[in-house]
Symmetry: C2
Subunit: 68 residues, 2 copies
């Protein structure tokens, strides 16, 4: 199990939290995702043999946010 | 047909626009609703014989925003 904290710009409200936690949380191999609005950070726990970090980043990007 | 511009605090992103325009737009008697994020304003055109201003304000409030 891998743990990473991503910096994500553009998250501003509860809808943003739902959009990101919902979409990333649905990915096979992701066991935990938590958005921190104040810090513009997203904590993700995932199994690298099931899902790539690129896929996680793309999923957030697809929701309209800028992953750094 | 009445026209009003409401000051609404807490709208911050595209999801907020959808939440407000969707819910207010579904009210019977509302013919137009437009959110302006930059100005924190919501323009509404409605038929006062079909829907009250209080109902419109309550609908926005129910989405989690502060109508002033």
């Amino acid at each position: 199990m891998e743990k990473i904290t991503l910096n994500v710009q553009g998250m501003s409200c509860g809808h943003c939290v739902k959009a990101i936690e919902g979409s990333v949380g649905e990915l096979k191999g992701v066991s935990k995702v938590k958005v921190n609005l104040e810090d513009s950070k997203v904590d993700v726990e995932y199994n690298a043999s099931e899902v790539s970090l690129d896929t996680i980043k793309e999923t957030i990007d697809d929701q309209g946010y800028d992953v750094q």
